[in-house]
């Protein structure tokens, strides 16, 4: 084999001629994220998460075969941002509810999102209604989580050489469909293999998945990970020098983030020294009487009251922080966003097990907040300065962010404290 030299981000690298760039980079200690690229499969170039530049032209890294003198760029700010954007697109295109996903902790896509430090998506969530196909014999396919990487299409065949999965439709309707007849030929082991090569939680083996609900969480505690740095926080001004003031609220959430906040444990004693907690369910102060440095918002906006409270917080706080998945993009309550409001309300008030026969009235009164057509992310309604992901976020994560803002220090979040579930 011929050995060639080429450059990645200006660094000299060597590899075998014609070797796949992803592998060649890895051997030279440079990580290029990938999703659709999978071991022995032909390069697919479909997910675009591995986008790099080759001699100035952008290209999917997984389809590049290295050659003498190539000049590859991987970690330029432009490319880092573009790759992050692709991942964000995957999050908004599907309906990825990490806290309720069997694959959480073992999900390649989630792992890459941690790797790239995604705290929220710049794009609006699309909330398209997608099906969970439980017809197949051994597996169930959850279209909400499919990123159309096509690993399964390439990899899963029956013993007599028939494809089990295939892309159908086109455009925004494109999906990975399953051939029931062929799927029925798969052995239990082959079905499990299909589940494992799926980079998300789209392919699940029926009956098997819940026996070990949260997988091995292989990605959580990997050593040698760089911490995630925080350096883009706006400076606050209100109580410079004196004791800081914090306000908190829970909108369309479950109070779990507040519970997590209390998990700071003994740290709470320090918190009390440093800050006054103003308007908050913890203090039961109902109205703002003073301006606050930080407002911590749990939960998104599902009704008019949420919007009003959120706007009040924006008016009275220097810095607003969305705490938890619900606040960041709607979270679990946003599961209703794929269903029309009328169907939701009918199901809850008219057709439920406990509703009276022939019930026609959906509760409403001028004193009751009105339900919004969707659950909205807080940053859809007001400007949000920082996002703390998690369901709930790790107590240390919350505290680290707050501390950082109060003392205006650079800070990093440990990998194990940065989670979506």
């Amino acid at each position: 084999m011929e050995t060639i030299t080429f450059k990645i981000d200006g660094r000299n690298c060597t590899a075998e001629k014609g070797q796949n760039l992803i592998e060649a980079a890895k051997q030279n200690g440079i990580f290029i994220p990938t999703l659709c690229h999978f071991k022995h499969l032909n390069p697919l170039g479909s997910c675009r998460v591995c986008t790099v530049k080759n001699n100035g032209h952008t290209i999917a890294g997984c389809i590049v075969k290295v050659a003498e003198g190539m000049n590859i760029e991987v970690n330029t700010p432009e490319l880092l941002d573009a790759r992050k954007a692709i991942l964000e697109m995957m999050f908004v295109e599907g309906n990825h509810f990490c806290p309720s996903c069997e694959k959480s902790g073992d999900c390649d896509m989630q792992n890459l999102a941690y790797e790239t430090g995604i705290r929220y998506t710049r794009f609006p969530h699309l909330f398209v209604d997608r099906i969970v196909d439980a017809h197949p014999k051994r597996i169930a396919v959850n279209q909400n989580r499919c990123i159309k990487c096509q690993r399964c299409i390439e990899e899963v065949n029956t013993n007599d050489g028939y494809k089990v999965f295939q892309l159908t439709e086109k455009g925004n309707k494109t999906q990975v469909s399953i051939d029931y007849e062929q799927e029925a030929k798969l052995s239990a082991a082959e079905a499990e293999h299909a589940m494992h090569i799926c980079p998300t939680g789209s392919i699940l083996v029926k009956g098997k998945t819940f026996s070990k609900p949260f997988g091995d969480r292989a990605f959580d505690y990997k050593l040698g990970r760089k911490d995630i740095s925080l350096n883009d926080i706006k400076k606050h001004t209100t109580t410079k020098g004196s004791k800081k003031r914090i306000a908190t609220t829970s909108l369309a959430g479950c109070f779990g983030c507040h519970m997590s906040l209390l998990d700071i444990d003994l740290g709470l004693l320090d918190v009390i020294e440093l800050v006054d907690i103003h308007k908050s369910p913890l203090t039961d102060i109902k109205k703002f009487t003073e301006r606050c440095d930080i407002g911590l918002i749990e939960g998104g906006c599902c009704n008019t009251d949420n919007v009003e409270v959120l706007r009040e917080f924006r008016k009275n706080c220097d810095i607003l922080i969305s705490v938890g998945e619900c606040a960041i993009w709607g979270g679990l309550p946003a599961m209703r966003n794929t269903v029309p409001l009328e169907a939701c309300l009918s199901e809850a008030y008219l057709n439920s097990m406990t509703s009276e026969e022939g019930e026609t009235i959906i509760p409403n009164h001028e004193d009751i907040p009105k339900i919004l057509n969707n659950v909205y992310a807080n940053h859809d309604v007001v400007k949000i300065d920082y996002h703390i992901p998690g369901c709930p976020p790790n107590a240390n994560h919350i505290w680290n962010v707050v501390k950082h803002i109060l003392f205006e220090e650079e800070y990093t979040i440990a990998y194990s404290e940065f989670k979506y579930d």
Binding site: T51, T58, Y162, L167, D179, V307, N374
Partner: protein, 574 residues
């Protein structure tokens, strides 16, 4: 059965039953020894194949932006009223099924529709009523269809006309008798012909790659999948000069040594099939196709026509090849040129209709004739399909280097404001740029020019474009599939009146990300016009959005957000 016969076989079922029944899928899957889902994947990719029974008459109404401005909604309502059917819904009427479809290449005669692939143009509600009545009365659809020849509105002076001059069958091919392949290639090279589909790749170079390829079998493909909305110049060539296109293909075969050619004709142009086939027969009769063409020993070449089935992306050459192979029309990842590995992995030359026609004229008239016309980098003339708010829509054969202004005057544009060059994936220009020239150095135009006046909503134009890309993306790569949906959401937000200048900046950043990361041209350029329009029509956008500073509030439309709830409550209080 060969896999490459798949589309043809599916068409047989579609035409016979009005849809592709389950038994057909099973039968084909069995014959090809593939799983059924693989056939489903192909069927569902092309929007002229149906999986549910359709009426005797399938009506495809063009939803192009030109059609929208010329009264699409009225026509839609008229069709629904007259047939009692709803667009996009199956099984409502034994006679009729209604669907919308992307531009059908009749922008100069919109609103237009295809009924069982026969064209009906310049529709009015009255005309729709009479068409439906006739069909209900059992009158044959072909007898009432229009003959939609595009008007050739302009050709240059005689010594500068290349395409629309006298044509005599086989004129260009006569020269092959006296020239060897290299000499013919040199003439094409001297005339500096570049690809007319819009990519401007040097044709001589492509043909040389084809010639030098060591592949055992070689193919010539004529890309007649003219899908870019607003374009209909290839259709005009097929209608008026089908022989010229075929001659271009024969010349290309002479150079490269290919023995087989395909014309990939979009299904929207099915009504041109008969003419094209008749022309091929004429060529065969004159020994210009077949064995030992022109009595040149071992010069064998034949052409087959493949009908597309409704997929814009198949206009991209590698997607077209995939489609020809009987697969989903997804563009390939670029590891090699088709001239190395194309159709069934053999060397394949793919060129646009106009490129082949031009090549034939070059061989007929000589490279010197061509070189005298045009600009430094663009030689000869160019066919433009011009439509929109103008008095004279149709085909314009212009000399490269003609300014937009000259064209606007010729087509008698009425207060032009927004001009879209090369279709939705091209670029838009405003009134300050009308002095720009059509040529590779400046406005590298693929063939479509759409002209909109001041009364037209730019947002409506952009929405139509993004909607088109959203539907027509092959769905394979993330930035194109998801990106176009995301841009579409932004347009909805602007339409609701809750956008700030930050949202417009987002659009430009996001279009740039799509450009950087998409797998093929569709995704790379789908956000381009939107992004450009924001800069070029800031007077328009300033009226639509609020200016945003550092601490700007996010706009949230609470009225809209509670409208569903109020409606539900109202409906349930009765």
């Amino acid at each position: 059965m060969k896999r490459s016969r798949l589309l043809t076989r599916l068409w047989e079922f579609q035409n016979k039953y009005g849809y592709i029944p389950d038994v057909a899928i099973s039968e084909i899957a069995q014959k090809l020894r593939v799983s059924k889902i693989e056939i489903e994947g192909v069927v569902s990719f092309y929007h002229f194949f149906h999986r549910q029974p359709t009426g005797k008459y399938i009506i495809y109404l063009s939803s192009s932006i030109i059609s929208e401005f010329k009264g699409l909604n009225e026509i839609k309502t008229a069709f629904e009223k007259e047939t009692g059917c709803t667009f996009g819904v199956y099984n409502q009427h034994p006679l009729f099924s209604l669907f919308e479809t992307s531009c059908i290449g009749l922008s100069d005669q919109e609103p237009a529709a295809l009924i069982n692939f026969y064209p009906f143009t310049n529709l009015t509600p009255k005309k729709v009523a009479s068409i439906i009545q006739d069909l209900k009365n059992g009158i044959q659809v072909d007898s009432i269809a229009n003959k939609p020849a595009s008007k050739i509105q302009f050709i240059p002076s005689e010594e500068k006309t290349v395409f629309f001059r006298d044509y005599h069958l086989g004129n260009s091919l006569e020269n092959l008798k006296y020239l060897d392949a290299n000499e013919v290639l040199d003439i094409i090279s001297d005339a500096e012909l570049t690809g007319r589909g819009g990519a401007f790749f040097p044709t001589a170079q492509k043909w040389m790659y084809g010639k030098n390829a060591t592949s055992e079998l070689k193919y010539i493909i004529c890309n007649a999948d003219e899908g870019e909305p607003g374009t209909f110049k290839d259709k005009a060539l097929i209608q008026n000069l089908p022989g010229l296109i075929i001659e271009g293909m024969i010349i290309s075969a002479y150079i490269s040594g290919a023995q087989k050619g395909f014309i990939y004709l979009r299904a929207e142009y099915s009504y041109l099939l008969a003419k094209l086939k008749a022309t091929l027969v004429k060529f065969q009769k004159h020994n210009l196709l077949g064995k030992n063409i022109l009595k040149i020993p071992n010069f064998n070449f034949d052409i087959e026509i493949q009908l597309g089935a409704g997929a814009y992306v198949c206009g991209a050459e590698t997607a077209l090849i995939e489609s020809l192979e009987g697969k989903r029309g997804e563009p390939r990842i670029r590891n090699s040129f088709p001239t190395e590995r194309g159709f069934n992995n053999h060397a394949t030359i793919v060129n646009n209709v106009e490129t082949f026609a031009m090549a034939a004229r070059i061989i007929e008239l000589g490279s010197e004739y061509i070189s005298k016309i045009g600009t430094k980098n663009s030689k000869g003339t160019k066919l433009l399909s011009v439509a929109g708010d103008i008095a004279k829509p149709g085909i314009y054969e212009i000399e490269w280097g003609t300014t937009v202004e000259e064209l606007l005057n010729r087509c008698e544009a009425n207060a032009p404001y927004f001009v879209q060059i090369s279709g939705p994936s091209g670029e838009c220009i405003n009134a300050t740029e009308f002095n720009r020239k059509f040529c590779q150095e400046d406005l590298a135009c693929g063939g479509s020019v759409m002209i909109f006046n001041r009364s037209r909503s730019i947002l409506q134009i952009l929405e139509n474009f993004i909607q088109f890309f959203k539907n027509e993306s092959c769905g394979n790569c993330t930035p194109c599939r998801a990106g176009n949906q995301i841009l579409f959401e932004k347009i909805q937000k602007i339409k609701r009146g809750i956008c700030t200048t930050d949202d417009l900046k987002d659009v430009q950043k996001w279009a740039q990300i799509m450009k950087l990361t998409s797998r093929c041209g569709l995704g790379q350029f789908s956000g381009k016009t939107f992004s450009m329009a924001i800069d070029k029509f800031d007077d328009y956008f300033n009226l639509k959005v609020t200016t945003c500073s550092d601490n700007c509030n996010v706009e949230f439309d609470i009225e809209q957000a509670i409208s569903d709830y109020e409606q539900v409550v109202k409906n349930t209080q009765l």
